[in-house]
């Protein structure tokens, strides 16, 4: 029987093969102190890794045998709006039932609330598989990670009331955007007013483009400070659907991810409670929320890339033209091997980021219970910085890769790929949103720019350069090092103009340079550990990345301030 996890050993490698994993598990399990008090806590590192593997395997079973087979029907039917409520596509309920019964809920939440207490790295593995099965369903499933924000910033009473419900399978949404506040969330106008009489907040207004907007539990960004117009007047609220007051006005008719209902919501005196401190809604909590969501989208993009590659590979082996299977033609195997290389490279960056996130989040969590040592404090700072650098990089690069890979998947299919009978066209439509929502690739570039100019990525590259690799990959490593030098040279050129607009114009190219350089190094590292799984991809990716780096390097180095007028409208 098909199992998405055992059928793709690359996922298992990324989940467990990093030397950081030991530390991650140790921190997450707080030295395995919890083992005695729980039926399902691991006894040691090997036991924890075995748990992740076993749970990934059961998730892989559901992906291959429930979610993926349902994807076409979900795409065709889509959700409906009935009397202010969302009715999912009928097979979506089957998917939900399977994931809830399998207990894939509250995956990262502590066991005391009914969660699995898995690190983000293990959650990411489940996430990318579910996305490969059905990217639209992945939205509904993965919104459970909003609970991280409630766990981090809510009080203990809120945690104990809400977290167990998510661990039992209730769904979530994050209600941020409005008709006039998309990328620019400072413009949010949804009004929150406190009633002294009822001792609670009431929300009024409209939210737009809300994924899974009829969820059980909403995190809502609203204006709590009357008369304000910027980020400082916004707070975060918890709205419980059981209290009523929010209706779905319409569901958007989207190009892809049809399984995921994108809602327009009307708040009419909806009772809500404050989460965290007033005025910190956007500047602190939503940023945390978005960072988690961005890692989620990166996982979704990798899942779509994997599914696109699988579809293309199967078709190319099966389809015969000119007397042989088309996979034997250079034009086709060039596309396929490059797809696989981008997929493996993107996945390496995804998991590297997840590990950084795990370490700083676990340290933060420990800090809630006790004072950190100086060494721990330094680590918290370091990994927080690495995570905030790598999150926009993995989100944007993987989103773009899933677009290219799904495009090439159709191309491998030729005319058949343009027909709705083949899954590759759904993947292409689904991939398209990944480079737009949770911040467009252009906004990921904005988030990455400070790390380009202050040298976070250069530092990551230096560290990767310093690590030894197997002799057979030393030549690749030398080529990667030469790319890194070009990247650093391009940064210097862009900074030398001393003009922020010039730097912004270069930023997308610098971003691509950083992405290619980091991923090339990561893939060489992985190939050095497991040449069978990643050796080919490392070599193919190097050829691809060198060409990409040359392109972006030439662009930046050839650009001067006097050309800027040509770009301005």
């Amino acid at each position: 029987m098909a199992n998405f996890y055992t059928d793709h050993p690359e996922i298992k490698f990324n989940l467990e093969s990093s030397p950081l994993m030991n530390r991650i598990v140790e921190l997450r399990e707080k030295g395995f102190a919890n083992e005695e008090n729980s039926d399902y806590a691991p006894a040691d590192y090997a036991d924890a890794i075995d748990n992740y593997n076993q749970v990934c395997e059961l998730a892989g079973d559901i992906v291959s045998n429930v979610i993926a087979p349902n994807a076409e029907a979900v795409d065709a039917e889509g959700p409906h709006c009935e009397n202010g409520r969302v009715r999912y596509a009928s097979k979506t309920y089957e998917n939900l039932e399977a994931t809830v019964k399998a207990g894939l809920c509250g995956v990262t939440m502590p066991r005391r609330f009914g969660g699995l207490n898995f690190p983000v790295t293990a959650y990411t593995a489940i996430n990318e598989m579910i996305a490969a099965g059905d990217a639209g369903f992945e939205n509904i499933w993965s919104l459970q990670d909003c609970i991280e924000t409630l766990y981090e910033f809510g009080d203990e009473d809120q945690r104990s009331r809400f977290i167990p419900r998510i661990c039992a399978g209730e769904t979530m949404s994050m209600d941020l955007t409005e008709p006039d506040a998309g990328s620019d969330l400072q413009r949010v106008m949804l009004k929150a007013t406190y009633s002294e009489e009822d001792k609670c907040w009431y929300l009024n207004g409209v939210k737009r483009f809300i994924t899974n907007g009829d969820s059980d539990l909403h995190l809502v960004l609203a204006r709590s400070e009357e008369g304000t117009h910027d980020a400082r007047g916004l707070s975060m609220f918890i709205y419980d659907k059981r209290d009523g007051g929010v209706n779905v006005r319409r569901i958007e008719n989207k190009m892809g991810i049809h399984g995921s209902p994108t809602c327009e919501l009307v708040y009419k005196n909806a009772k809500a409670e404050l989460c965290g401190r007033r005025k910190f809604g956007l500047i602190k909590y939503v940023m945390a929320l978005m960072n988690g969501a961005r890692l989620g989208i990166a996982a979704q993009a990798v899942g779509i890339s994997q599914a696109s590659y699988d579809e293309a590979l199967a078709y190319a082996k099966d389809r015969k033209q000119f007397g042989k299977a088309i996979i034997n033609f250079p034009a086709v195997y060039d596309m396929l091997s490059t797809m696989k290389a981008r997929l493996d490279a993107g996945r390496a960056l995804l998991y590297q980021t997840a590990r950084y996130v795990d370490i700083y989040k676990s340290l933060e969590d420990i800090e809630r219970e006790r004072k950190l040592t100086d060494e721990e404090k330094a680590d918290l700072k370091l990994y927080n910085r690495l995570a905030s650098a790598c999150t926009p990089l993995t989100k944007g690069m993987n989103a773009e890769y899933s677009n290219i890979n799904s495009y090439d998947s159709i191309q491998v299919h030729g005319g058949s790929g343009y027909m709705l009978e083949y899954a590759c066209q759904r993947l292409y439509r689904d991939a398209r949103i990944t480079s737009i929502y949770e911040g467009t690739t252009q906004l990921q570039t904005v988030a990455a720019l400070p790390h380009i100019t202050t040298g976070t990525y250069s530092q990551i590259l230096e560290e990767l350069e310093a690590a030894a690799v197997a002799p057979e990959f030393e030549a690749l490593k030398a080529r990667a090092k030469a790319m890194d030098a070009k990247y650093n040279e391009a940064i210097e050129h862009a900074k030398a103009a001393n003009d922020n607009e010039f730097l912004d114009l270069c930023s997308r190219h610098l971003y691509e340079l950083a992405g290619n350089c980091v991923m090339a190094q990561l893939l060489i590292r992985d190939a050095s550990v497991n040449a069978e799984l990643f050796g080919t991809s490392a070599k193919v990716y190097m050829n691809y990345a060198e060409a990409e780096v040359a392109k972006h390097y030439n662009f930046v180095m050839g650009l001067s301030a006097d050309q800027m007028a040509d770009y301005r409208k």
């Binding site: 005695e36 039926d39 399902y40 806590a41 691991p42 075995d50 748990n51 076993q54 749970v55 059961l58 079973d61 559901i62 429930v66 399977a98 019964k101 399998a102 207990g103 894939l104 699995l116």
Partner: protein, 293 residues
């Protein structure tokens, strides 16, 4: 009210994916070439049990399997999916049992579980395809039986009655039966739910005594003292008070003479209605042909 549900499960060689080496030269099953799996229709039976448990919280599901020590694997699988406890019936003297000895042994084990309201099992196992064990257990326990069940439609706690839809030739039939009873579940019933993450982590190290190496005994005893669910109870012939003449080879009148590959062909088939005229016509014809009489 809560129910006490017993599910019978068998570990079988996976005959669904048969390769060229599936049979030995002697015509018996080459068990080494086939992975051992949870008999598929027993999983359908487990799902019906889990649905009853969903409907009647507090109900317990006890899974009983008979086989080699490694058949504890099906108990773990059932625990992963929601069963409450499991028993492995294993003993050298039980070996070589045909359906008669098997049903006797399982009936004895079920008596030891005790106080059952409903016993569920798959219609048949994919290694033998006899479909005899369920009905024979019902007979031995003196219970009503409903075979080929597709769904337990309702269960009335106070009247102690169930309504079951069963598959019959060319259609379905809805029947009502009293508790306690034996239900054999058909493969067309709902598939079993997936494993549950927490249950996998909880039960993955649960073992039966026969699975443990002797040198591990002490470590297991310490573990089980803290976490009793780590032990899967194991019963031998004496534990279930089995009559030595009715178990294993001694209790098995069946002797397999040969195993052959036969392809069924319908040459002249006719479909008759259930009308009196059709039935009478058929009986007359069979009498004339001296097939019956």
């Amino acid at each position: 009210m809560s129910l006490k549900i017993v599910v019978l499960a068998k570990q079988v060689p996976d005959t669904r994916n048969v390769g060229p080496d599936a049979m030995t030269e002697q015509g018996t099953i080459n068990r080494a070439a086939l992975p051992a799996v949870f008999n598929p229709e027993d999983l359908n039976a487990l799902e019906q049990a889990l649905r009853l448990k969903d409907q009647f919280p507090g109900s317990t599901i006890s899974v009983v399997t008979m086989g080699l020590p490694k058949s504890a694997e099906v108990i773990r699988e059932a625990l992963y999916r929601g069963a409450d406890e499991g028993f492995v019936v294993t003993d050298r003297v039980l070996g070589g049992a045909d359906t008669l000895a098997t049903s006797y042994t399982l009936a004895q084990a079920i008596k030891k579980v005790g106080n059952y309201d409903i016993i569920l099992c798959g219609r048949q196992a994919i290694d033998g395809d006899t479909a005899q064990v369920g009905p024979q257990i019902a007979q031995k326990l003196g219970l009503t039986q409903v075979t080929y069940a597709e769904e337990i439609l309702s269960l009335d706690e106070s009247a102690r009655k169930v309504v079951i839809r069963r598959l019959i030739d060319g259609g379905v039939e809805t029947v009502e039966a009293p508790l306690p009873l034996v239900v054999t579940v058909n493969g067309s019933a709902a598939p079993c739910r997936p494993r549950n993450a927490k249950r996998v982590m909880k039960y993955k190290k649960a073992t039966a005594v026969a699975e443990r190496a002797p040198e591990q005994a002490e470590a297991y005893a310490a573990l089980i003292a803290v976490k009793p669910f780590m032990d899967i109870p194991q019963w031998g012939a004496a534990d279930i008070e089995a009559d030595p003449n009715q178990i294993g080879k001694a209790g098995s009148p069946t002797n397999v003479k040969a195993v052959k590959n036969i392809v069924f062909k319908a040459k002249e088939s006719r479909t008759l209605t259930a009308s009196d005229a059709d039935v009478e016509g058929l009986i007359k014809e069979l009498l004339e042909e001296k097939i019956i009489g």
